[in-house]
Subunit: 592 residues, 2 copies
């Protein structure tokens, strides 16, 4: 190594040692005929002093002209800092290195920004100079954290007898629903590989092959638009186990969550993690990934609405729809009429026709622009159902089940953030279970699989598969962290008959099933064990644990919406002649 | 878990325990009114007995009809085996489970082959039923071995402060020379991603970004034909370090090799691993990846050839070419004239015009069809140079340096295998260093980079970069295991001036360099540390350590030359209408 120590290593016990350090010039100060350089590497900062008697005038002069962010090598002796000049915040803050020799290993041109500056430029410039942006402490920490989290995962599963198996990147289309990236093959002219949306089929085949426990940190791909929390290539912790039920998988992941929280964040997470059925989550929070860092549950007051003379409530209830609301504790005076009007506009984005609200007054009565339309007895009933206390703000939507779910979920999410109902360090991990097997596609009216078509129904719902598909629940479980889906899995169907029945229900005819999933269907006929698994979104997991909101902050070279010539952002231009030749030939089209 | 124990777990100490086992029916025997099933899972085999008094006639009858390779669940009590019926070869061989209950979890259709059969069918059928093929002990062992090797690697680098960073799969073209797979992007219409041939540029940028130590088990891609030891997608252990020289990287990998050999194979490997320069390897073995499990070095006898009257030798030497040979110890009587004639034909495949050979007779003289053309004194000189002893066979090529290298390398490889000059368990790992920076492209006569264009020259050869490119050696090192290149790396150029000079020499003009490597060139201007790294071929590494010769035996779902409808083998047909629409639109070509 060119260096004897890193820039984060030297302590008082090293005083007197001759050392060689390498690093980046983080900052530089001229002070009393000497130059002070904070030398930086991944491990820390060390103060280097170029001054007499160790350094001669020439060295001091040269040091003064080294551009910031240059890479230098220095030799010198570790020394005590002057009385009062120590820096307790820095692990190396008790010492400095008195420099005798300096070499510029690579001078830095005038950089568009420096990693230490407080006012960072916009993301476009930061991505263009990603090598500078990645020097920021925040980015280094996020990627080091990511590396650690993945290591903890791998260690955990190795301890639990899992085998890490690499599944192909170039394969056939997977049945995940999103659009595949297609890759023309030169060797097999006229054919295309697809990049996997998940290793689903492969891992099921590994179970049929008797691998018993498979794990992989797998790259997956979807040819879809970018969002703040979505990249076209993403990383999943993917696993599958044989001879298990849903409880086994959840218990395994409970252990992983606790281990990760402890080893990476130093936090204790109590296990087993709380579990809630899908139905309960929709009833209490309006969503299958509720943020459980704070209370404020949805309460159903339809039974009261049915009795009132208030037209909107009454008509909704009579039509078989719902009046549901939330008690925003202590918020009666926090929101003005105007702000509530704005919130009414907000819930309209989710299909609501309006927002009814009541303040609980000091005397315990409910006041609202609409309160005159309701009997006092009914108001009291509402207050009781909502557990209203003076100072509370009660908000209601009167609409279909779906709209009340969507609107109240959105409102709750917004209020939770606005009212700071949770702390920045709070971590809530929970399971949502027993999802419906199927949902109706709104456009076509057809049944679609809520997870994927390989999901097994609950044993107790097996006969509903044909008689009442809507009521049929799946052996499915989602892990929710702080109100975001952090992963999900299912127990799979392990016999070809049930699998065929599900395909039929989904309108996938035999020929199509054979074409798309023939390899799996065949495998299920030759000794398939009961099996199930889960996939965790690693990017999102890291983002949630690090308390970040932009997924590009946990990916070294992310993609952005803007197509520029940057290697990190967008695919490149290929010489169009060569490209069309190569690609059109593979698809069997003659070029002009 | 459905089971209480695995099929590899039960011992004498478990006798009397009620257990539930799940697994595959490996084999079945009817014997004295009872059915004996060897139940198999990844962990082992357990003998299950369906017989009285525990099992009734119905259970025994049902058990007798379970097809082989079906998945069953059994419950019963662990019991001692009868005197003389124990199986010492099986860890569970002292016990059996006396079955009280059996459930068929998945019946197996009539399989085209079973994993236990001794005469396996051809690879095509095995790949078509990969889920059956993967049940074979050999395949399971190879993939478990692979998983362990990769885990050892990851642990080792984590201990050495490396950060595991994921680099993009969808990116721009990398400069590795082979053909890229191209992926049309829907979001950025008209543009294509390339799949990486290596994360070379990304990892160099991570060094410029100050990550100091990067490691990744990376998927890489080359759109090339398949071979027994090559797949279009392959796995590399890829790493990069800052502030290092070649010795640091080699010492690091020495530690990895020793650790892996010990933890995975239980073998001691002495470190530091032997090192040999490229020049020495070509001189002594004719190749840059010599098999050092056995001796039989190439010896140069040109100095004697020059003095003889034997026309072929003399003319070769006079023309400035070489007469080089090998002493095949004790092989004088092992090869007949006819066999040597056949070997002569063999070396002609490598450009040689013939093969000269001598037997060392019992009296110490050399005998050969050509010995009459040589003086006794010269024959004695040759014998001495070759250290010939009675019974030895001396073989020579007289040709250009290149042809003697190629021919003798091939001959040595063949003789080593034929004469069993190494044992099946022998492991030899060595470094080849100081490769030439450049080689001439035979067709165009242009210089090309022997490793890649980012490789730094030896400091002592820096001035030869312009004056004598052919003599300029690189800071490059290859790891050779048992005569196969198992990985290679270089110290990189870390200043843009040297980088530009190398590009110039390689005939890459400024605009092209900027277009292809602009992002890296730019990074080298903003504080780039000295850095270097290495990439190890994981597939090959596992293959070599497992003593296998077909890379498809260490990959769960390999690709084969034949395009069939199997997901594991070939890319699928995509609906041609949809495909051309989608793909032609992205390349900006109007479809008819």
């Amino acid at each position: 190594m060119l260096r004897t120590h890193t820039c984060g290593q030297l302590r008082k016990t090293d005083i007197g040692t001759e050392v060689t350090l390498c690093g980046w010039v983080d900052s530089k100060r001229d002070h009393g005929g000497a130059v002070f350089i904070d030398l930086r590497d991944r491990y820390g900062l060390t103060q280097v002093v170029m001054g007499p008697p160790e350094a001669d005038a020439k060295l001091i002069d040269e040091a003064g002209r080294i551009p910031a962010e240059s890479v230098i090598l220095i030799r010198g002796k570790v020394a005590d800092r002057l009385e009062g000049k120590t820096n307790d915040k820095l692990p190396t803050g008790a010492i400095e290195v008195r420099c005798e020799h300096v070499e510029i290993l690579n001078a830095c041109a005038n950089p568009p920004f420096t990693p230490g500056q407080s006012d960072m430029p916009g993301e476009d410039l930061r991505l263009k100079y990603r090598f500078l942006d990645l020097r920021r402490k925040e980015m280094q920490n996020a990627l080091i954290q990511r590396s650690r989290i993945i290591k903890v995962m791998r260690d955990y599963f190795a301890e639990h007898d899992f085998i890490d198996v690499e599944t192909p990147i170039l394969g056939r289309s997977t049945p995940e629903g999103a659009r595949d990236y297609l890759v023309p093959s030169r060797v097999h002219a006229g054919k295309f590989y697809a990049l996997p949306q998940s290793p689903q089929l492969y891992k099921q085949i590994l179970m049929v092959a008797g691998f018993d426990r498979y794990v992989q940190v797998a790259k997956c791909f979807r040819d879809e638009d970018l969002r703040a929390d979505r990249q076209p290539e993403f990383t999943q912790l993917d696993l599958e186990m044989s001879f298990v039920d849903a409880d086994d998988i959840m218990a395994l992941i409970d252990g992983l969550v606790a281990r990760t929280a402890k080893e990476v964040l130093g936090k204790e997470v109590k296990t087993p993690l709380p579990r809630m059925t899908y139905d309960e989550a929709m009833r209490r929070y309006g969503h299958d990934a509720p943020d459980l860092r704070f209370d404020m549950e949805i309460v159903d007051v339809t039974s009261v609405a049915k009795k009132t003379d208030f037209r909107v409530f009454r008509a909704t209830a009579d039509a078989g729809n719902y009046v549901r609301g939330m008690n925003v504790k202590g918020a009666a005076t926090k929101y003005s009429r105007r702000q509530i009007d704005e919130m009414t506009e907000y819930v309209k984005e989710f299909g609501a026709k309006g927002l009814a609200w009541f303040r609980v007054e000091d005397d315990g009565t409910l006041w609202s622009p609409i309160s005159k339309n309701l009997d006092e007895a009914h108001l009291a009933e509402i207050k009781e159902l909502m557990q209203g206390e003076p100072g509370d703000l009660l908000m209601f939507l009167a609409d279909t089940w779906e709209v009340t779910c969507k609107g109240l979920y959105a409102l709750r999410k917004r209020l939770g953030a606005e009212l700071k109902l949770y702390g920045p360090d709070q971590l809530n991990c929970s399971w949502i279970t027993e999802f419906p097997m199927f949902e109706r596609d709104e456009e076509s009216g057809n049944w679609t699989a809520m997870h994927h078509p390989f999901t097994a129904p609950l044993a107790s719902d097996l006969e509903k598969l044909e008689s009442d598909p809507k009521a049929c629940r799946a052996q499915a479980y989602d892990l929710v962290i702080n109100g975001s889906e952090a992963g999900g899995g299912t127990i799979r169907i392990h016999d070809s008959k049930t699998q065929s029945k599900v395909f039929e229900l989904l309108g996938i005819d035999e020929a199509t099933a054979e074409d798309r999933f023939g390899f799996l269907l065949n495998a299920l006929r030759f000794g398939a064990p009961p099996h199930g698994g889960i996939a965790l979104g690693v990017d999102r997991w890291v983002m949630l644990l690090a308390g970040l909101e932009n997924i590009r902050e946990v990916i070294a070279f992310p993609k952005t919406q803007k197509a520029t010539d940057m290697m990190t952002e967008a695919p490149g231009e290929v010489d169009s002649g060569q490209l069309t030749e190569l690609h059109l030939r593979t698809v069997g089209v003659k070029t002009q």
